[in-house]
């Protein structure tokens, strides 16, 4: 059985959606929804922002607070939201033309300021909505409605532009390489800072057909010929590589930040909890919600995420979350906001 709860994040009432048969945007929308759902990002903690274009319709199909901005301005709105509401997860869903052409200036400067937002760019290498004109990412030589003898200019290489100064996170994937695609979405959502996922996608109607493809699947096979997956983390990706290029801030600066983040222990002689005892504090019957993290126990009962009905279904209550939090976005900062109520007996100690 597979988990289909991601559908709660979609406005199914508005389906079938507006995109052409086989258009890759539907796949982007769906897989982003699946990943958001897996991470527990929902209408209480997440906002999506789109620009204009076929891809720009994505935010409007999500059951989340959504902003549909003027053409090219998705990042300006997203950065503003993140600035005034740092507690919200901000996700941008837009197209290559919107983000790379008219919004190109914002892309440069938003990435430079490195706000903690994630951008999913449906990169169909064309202006889809307006009829299939050559755009900034159209490969040289491609026949489009505005370049019937082949595009004469070099494309903008987003992968190079966005990996010039650390910190950065740039991933390239395609709607065909589904597992890779999902892995890139997740990694990008986990990344603390500006992350950009360049999703090579098909505009079958207004680009693919002109290039001689009859179905979306034929275009997928063409993606498979043009690109190959590279394993591991790179500093940069070559133009035909699918993978993740990321770099953190310089090492010394990071070490300093880590030290500051450790919370001060205020209470001496904290109560010692075993994992069994911790399980008891799961938020049911008016009990507080405790979680374990790095050997300490925190009381997260006051978190707005776990009020009302959600309190009863809080699946993380009473557990040691050290591993989960380390990989979650803003995990640590969140925990340290809550009062520390005890120490956790780790296994080895408990056995003594």
């Amino acid at each position: 059985m597979i988990d289909r709860s991601y559908k709660e994040l979609l406005k199914l009432k508005r389906f079938p959606h507006t995109w052409c048969p086989g258009c890759g945007i539907g796949a982007v929308l769906k897989n982003v929804a699946i990943s958001l759902r897996e991470l527990g990002w929902n209408d209480r903690n997440t906002t999506v922002v789109s620009g204009i274009g076929c891809s720009g319709r994505m935010a409007g199909y999500m059951n989340l607070d959504a902003v549909h901005t003027p053409h090219g301005r998705a990042l300006t709105a997203a950065e503003a939201i993140k600035t005034v509401r740092p507690d919200l997860n901000v996700v941008v869903l837009s197209g290559d033309g919107d983000l790379g052409a008219i919004g190109g200036n914002h892309l440069l400067h938003t990435s430079r300021r490195n706000p903690n937002i994630t951008v999913f760019c449906n990169d169909n290498e064309i202006y889809g909505l307006t009829g299939g004109q050559a755009g900034p990412t159209t490969p040289k030589g491609t026949k489009t409605i505005t370049s019937p003898r082949g595009e004469i200019f070099q494309p903008l290489r987003l992968g190079r532009i966005l990996t010039t100064q650390a910190p950065y996170f740039y991933a390239r994937t395609t709607v065909y390489h589904l597992n890779h695609f999902k892995a890139c979405i997740r990694e990008a959502l986990f990344w603390k800072g500006f992350s950009f996922v360049d999703i090579i996608s098909d505009c079958i109607e207004l680009n693919g057909r002109r290039l001689g493809f009859k179905t979306a699947h034929q275009m997928f096979k063409w993606f498979d010929e043009r690109f190959h997956i590279v394993e591991g983390v790179r500093d940069h990706l070559k133009d035909d590589e699918l993978g993740i290029a990321k770099r953190e801030v310089e090492a010394e600066v990071k070490a300093e930040m880590e030290v500051e983040k450790e919370p001060k222990v205020l209470i001496e002689g904290l109560k010692l909890f075993t994992l069994e005892e911790l399980k008891h504090f799961d938020g049911t019957d008016g009990k507080p919600i405790y979680i374990g993290y790095k050997g300490k126990v925190y009381d997260i009962s006051t978190s707005p995420l776990f009020q009302g009905e959600k309190r009863m279904r809080c699946h993380i209550a009473g557990k040691d979350l050290t591993r989960d939090i380390e990989i979650a976005p803003h995990g640590e900062d969140l925990v340290y906001h809550f009062p520390m109520v005890g120490k956790l007996k780790v296994k080895a100690e408990a056995e003594k």
Binding site: F15, W19, G22, H217
Partner: protein
């Protein structure tokens, strides 16, 4: 509509892009008379469901199968 063996198809969401037909590794799906038709032999690999951009095809849960 033809009876369903392993997959449920939503004819309102479906746009007949035939992606499901083309990704099915055992080739048991086809578009006939504007309908996605399923022949016996599904190996429940979920490829059709994973690739459908319109959320229009789903593999039945074991319990729902009409066998």
């Amino acid at each position: 509509m033809k009876p369903r063996l392993n997959v449920i198809w939503n004819e309102i969401y479906c746009k007949r892009c035939i992606l499901c037909v083309e990704v099915c590794p055992v080739g048991i799906l086809s578009l006939e008379m504007d309908e996605i038709v399923e022949k016996p032999g599904c190996i429940r690999c979920y490829q059709c469901e994973r690739y459908c951009p319109d959320i229009a095809i789903e593999v039945m849960d074991e319990g729902e199968k009409s066998s």
